[in-house]
């Protein structure tokens, strides 16, 4: 941004820039380093030298206790199951709705899109008790259905897909239609394959959101056998195991909850970036 005429100033400002960047990189990443390091420590070591990332001695006792002494394997299974089902359902249902809102002429389309935008603006936190009321009334409270069904579509995803379909040329679809393909056939074999970039973005956003989702599981289930990983982890920290410190165990469980998203983040970073900026278009 600053290409100064004097080389000295440029050098100084780059140096200063790097210092600031490195300082903040440390601030943003060091907690994760501490987290991993301390999850591999013994209990007394984690208490006495919390700042140091190097375990001395190295101990996997925390992880052993996570897997053998808690229900974490079960929560992990639930999280994987719920995340996969929700993500697949969102891919199909959001893109169908997005396509219809972008391309198909049907009565009430404008009103429906306005409703989607309105729903997008409803703060999620306001829905805690209302969601519980509905799940309770429908008799599906405390079940996998309650964990999955209410979140298999999301207004944000519909919005992203609609924007995408509006950005691609209509000519290919028209050619398919002229060849006699029906609406669904055109959508399935012509439109969806073209939507790959948007679908990948949607997969990433939906995976990350569902994997990390906490409040929904809080109002949808109460049986520990149905807990997802964030719910179980929260329970572990504030529940009976929260007594005493047990930092290596808790940090280890938190590491396990972070790894899948971290891996996907590293591999698909540009899609995350796109997702974040799609979010900004909504406003």
């Amino acid at each position: 941004m600053a290409r100064d005429t004097t080389g000295g100033r440029t050098l100084a400002s780059s140096f200063l820039g790097y210092c600031v960047l490195i300082f903040f990189a440390l601030v943003f990443l060091y907690p994760f380093v501490i987290q991993i390091g301390n999850s591999l420590k013994t209990e007394p070591d984690a208490v006495s030298s919390a700042l140091s990332p190097i375990p001395d001695p190295l101990s996997t006792a925390g992880y052993e206790r996570v897997f053998l002494g808690t229900d974490l394997p079960l929560w992990l299974g639930n999280s994987v199951f719920v995340t996969i089902v929700v993500t697949l359902a969102r891919l199909l249902l959001n893109s169908m709705a997005g396509y219809a809102l972008a391309r198909l002429r049907f009565r009430g389309r404008a009103g429906l899109f306005a409703a989607v935008l309105a729903i997008l603006a409803v703060p999620g936190v306001v829905l805690f008790i209302p969601k519980f009321l509905v799940l309770n009334q429908l008799g599906i409270y405390n079940s996998y259905t309650a964990l999955i069904l209410p979140v298999i579509v999301d207004a944000g995803g519909v919005f992203i897909m609609k924007q995408f379909f509006e950005s691609i040329p209509v000519s290919v679809e028209e050619a398919a239609r002229i060849d006699g393909a029906g609406v669904f056939r055109t959508f399935w074999s012509v439109v969806l394959p073209m939507a790959r970039p948007a679908l990948i973005t949607l997969t990433i956003i939906s995976f990350q959101a569902t994997w990390n989702e906490f409040p929904h599981s809080l109002v949808a289930v109460q049986d520990p056998a149905l807990f997802t990983l964030p719910r179980g982890l929260a329970d572990l920290v504030s529940g009976s195991l929260g007594v005493g410190t047990q930092y290596p165990l808790k940090l280890g469980a938190a590491v396990l909850a972070t790894i899948p998203v971290a891996v996907i983040f590293v591999v698909f970073q540009r899609y995350f970036v796109r997702g974040a900026n799609e979010g900004s278009d909504k406003g």
């Binding site: 907690p31 809102l101 198909l104 009430g108 936190v125 009321l133 209410p150 930092y247 970073q269």
Partner: protein
């Protein structure tokens, strides 16, 4: 389905109409069932004293009218005191988090956007990473980092500072500041300030500032949200035509001048967006409170969102809890509208 329609001899327009509705049907059903219907049901429940037993729509459930709402504002009692405390806590939280995350995000974006620096994508990823991780997992990490013998206090110890017991310290930062300046004595506040003030809370309580415990949640949230907002600023910065800044420089504008008169005005829409999104999300703080403090110590980390959860699911006062969430809803809607209005004003 389209095939069936064709067989029945529907016109193209009618078929497209049908296909359109079939395509949106799942979204309409799910959003209707789990967004719209719940809000309507909750509006009803907020007018009752339902305790969670049986259906809230039976005739035996006591109807109390607007009482759940009036108790929050006009009746002296624990309900109002807790609610007002939660509003105070959340207010201080918003007032600190929103400006800090915005300034930090903008600052990081400006530095990362510098064309002369290498390793941009690494730094961008590093700043953004906390935003994508689980709020629960990250709260667990911060519980450890800010523990009494944790990393932060170790670090402070290196500089000879005795760190506080972060999560059990209910003292307000504003109180501590006034105390430090010698204006008031935190252990014996002026009697005039201890008189009951607006909405049942004393002026002393209103003017506490965020507690030390709340400040850990404030730091956590600034740390996790700045990355996302940085990306928004970065996208906006990259949209500014280079020629514009070059032209300003040719006209003799210094670095500060270019920022003040070219870059900043171009960023205005993004700036307002970030402020609006920040405001909306900070009034909804819940996960971190649930994991880190449950409203403690001395209710200084209680927020309306957590209070509404606690009232409904722990005290089984669903009517009161729902009323709190609708008031919170109203607060968020009003703030959003105010910001939209200001934004429109600026554009003209």
């Amino acid at each position: 389905m389209a095939v069936a329609a064709r067989r029945r001899g529907l016109s193209t327009a009618a078929r497209e109409n049908l296909a359109g509705w079939l395509f949106v049907a799942p979204v309409v059903v799910i959003l209707g069932l789990f967004m719209l219907l719940p809000i309507l049901m909750a509006l009803w429940v907020s007018l009752t004293d339902w305790n969670g037993q049986g259906s809230p729509f039976r005739s035996t459930v006591p109807f109390v009218g607007a009482e759940n709402y009036t108790r929050l504002f006009t009746e002296d009692g624990l309900t109002r005191q807790d609610f007002m405390t939660s509003l105070r806590n959340n207010f201080y939280y918003v007032v600190i988090v929103v400006p800090c995350q915005t300034v930090l995000a903008l600052g990081l974006a400006l530095i990362v956007n510098n064309r002369l620096l290498r390793g941009k994508s690494f730094f961008r990823a590093a700043f953004f990473f906390p935003s994508v991780t689980s709020s629960v997992a990250i709260s667990v990490v911060f519980l450890f980092v800010f523990a009494n013998s944790g990393a932060v206090n170790n670090l402070l110890g290196l500089f000879g500072v005795d760190g506080p017991q972060w999560f059990s310290d209910a003292r307000g930062l504003l109180h501590l500041l006034l105390n430090g300046l010698g204006l008031v004595d935190i252990d014996a506040p002026p009697a005039a300030l201890l008189e009951p003030g607006p909405f049942g809370l004393s002026w002393w309580d209103w003017l506490s500032g965020p507690s030390v415990a709340m400040s850990t949640i404030i730091m956590l949230v600034i740390w996790t949200t700045s990355g996302t907002f940085m990306l928004m600023f970065l996208a906006a910065l990259q949209d500014i035509p280079v020629t514009l800044e070059e032209a300003a420089k040719l006209d003799g504008a210094g670095r500060k001048g270019v920022f003040r008169y070219v870059t900043l005005p171009m960023l205005k829409p993004t700036l307002f967006l970030v402020l609006t999104l920040g405001m909306i999300s900070t009034w909804q703080i819940f996960d971190q409170v649930y994991v880190m403090s449950q409203g403690n110590p001395a209710k200084t980390t209680l927020t309306p969102a957590f209070l509404s959860y606690q009232t409904a699911f722990r005290s089984f006062e669903y009517g009161s809890g729902t009323a709190i969430s609708f008031v919170l809803f109203a607060i968020i809607v009003v703030l959003t509208l105010v910001q939209r209005w200001i934004m429109r004003d600026r554009k003209v």
